[in-house]
Symmetry: none
Subunit: 270 residues, 2 copies
């Protein structure tokens, strides 16, 4: 369907599109083209396999050059989502995590509300062959799944970006009918949330919880999902840091970081 | 987004997808794949430039073979749409014809009604480079235009089919916009939640957090709200109990559950 009218202003803004370890430059290019179709221009790349910049991406973008030129490269997902308040993880399979799952349509309506309230948001897309790993999904608030034929639901990367972007473009022409009230505090961003996760998990290990380290990744993922769902404010995260610090005991709070050996010593803790 | 479950029945039926003079076999294949994604299987080809059948189409269809096998070849549009009652023509440019124009969403709702009344319908897609000619458009009842960035609205054939098919699939299955995944656990009830609150708060007081008792009610209320929003499962609450117990130290964990009377007695608890 040819119909581009270059006299008309390009629509900008909208959610970030975060491609996690995309494999082929072509797919980055076609994803950028789909973004341009939908008025999106915040492309973030986490460790693209074949390097960056990519001539193949430019060739495949069919003129969506401004999206590729603005694209930013990140060493990991944490860095790529640090400034965002709301993150969606696209998946096609059930990950058995306790998490909200929404359609692209609902996600678009939600994101319209978030962006109207100056709360940056973005959507994670995994590598072409495998999709996002479970630990990546646990960094998102919400799972985004495209409703498709269950017997044949595999989409290529650009098509997944297109469907999410299409719903975004369609929704932005209509006003949002819901937004979140947060009293006097602002929503925490992902960098703040991840700092809390790390403090909490380190304290848990120190306290002797789950002595079998093999069980930790799945337990930590479950706990991260629980706190993701709570949609914490920045003030609440400060309270939670205080809770963890208090649990670690008064001695620890006054001292510099104790060594791991001392943590299980009753005389130190009491 | 990989997520195909071949055990699930393929959704069939739906409007015909009519490709008018498609140029490349690849594009027929990717269009067939997009149809399979959306539960469509009535593919009609009008004078494909590179002949039919096409090995390139099969390779590009990524397993949507049944759509290609069922595809029918027609010498012209009249023959291809003869049995249909309602026909949509996809265009991106204004053709200056006096005609209804609808979005894919509206078209999907309409087609759902038509097919429910046994009135066959279909959607025309033009050749990749040029789109439908005006005489083809004049054979359709209605123009179908995808709302996209006016400065960059060019879609490839498979993507145009995907967006039309996605709206069809969404309309016919009316998926819930949102659902909650809870893995294998059930949602906690309020009695379980309140037991956790009490365990947590008691442990917080013991740990020395907030020595000023006047500040406690408001802090505890805030923490309760946070965990309420997380919408915990019963399994997660058990994990959280374990977390609190672990933070309270190994000595306590070895003791049998103290009776309610003894809970505030330091000598019993330590």
């Amino acid at each position: 369907m040819a119909g581009t009218d270059r006299r008309q202003a390009v629509v900008g803004g909208g959610p970030a599109i975060i491609l996690v370890e995309p494999q082929l430059g072509e797919n980055i290019g076609t994803a950028a083209r789909a973004m341009a179709n939908c008025g999106l221009d915040d492309l973030r790349l986490v460790r693209p396999r074949d390097g960056w910049p990519s001539e193949r991406a430019v060739a495949a973008a069919s003129g969506a050059d401004w999206v590729l030129e603005k694209a930013r490269l990140f060493p990991d997902i944490r860095a790529a989502i640090g400034d965002l308040v709301h993150v969606y993880a696209t998946t096609a399979r059930d990950r058995f995590q306790v998490k909200r799952e929404v359609t692209p349509r609902r996600a678009a309506e939600e994101m319209l509300g978030y962006l109207g309230a100056d709360e940056p948001c973005g959507v994670l897309f995994g590598p072409e062959r495998t999709g996002l790993v479970n630990d990546d999904v646990a960094l998102a608030d919400t799972v985004l799944t495209v409703p498709l034929n269950p017997a044949f639901s595999s989409l290529n990367l650009a098509q997944a970006v297109l469907l999410v972007g299409y719903e975004w473009f369609t929704a932005r022409t209509a006003p949002a009918d819901e937004r979140m009230h947060r009293g006097h505090s602002r929503p925490a961003n992902k960098a703040e949330l991840i700092r809390f996760f790390e403090h909490f998990e380190e304290a848990l290990v120190d306290s002797g919880f789950l002595r079998d380290p093999k069980k930790r990744p799945s337990l930590f993922r479950n706990l991260r999902n629980l706190f993701q769902r709570a949609d914490c404010t920045e003030q609440e995260l400060r309270t939670l840091h205080g809770v963890v610090t208090s649990f670690m005991g008064p001695k620890k709070r006054r001292e510099p970081e104790p060594s791991a050996d001392l943590v299980h010593d009753e005389t130190v803790r009491r």
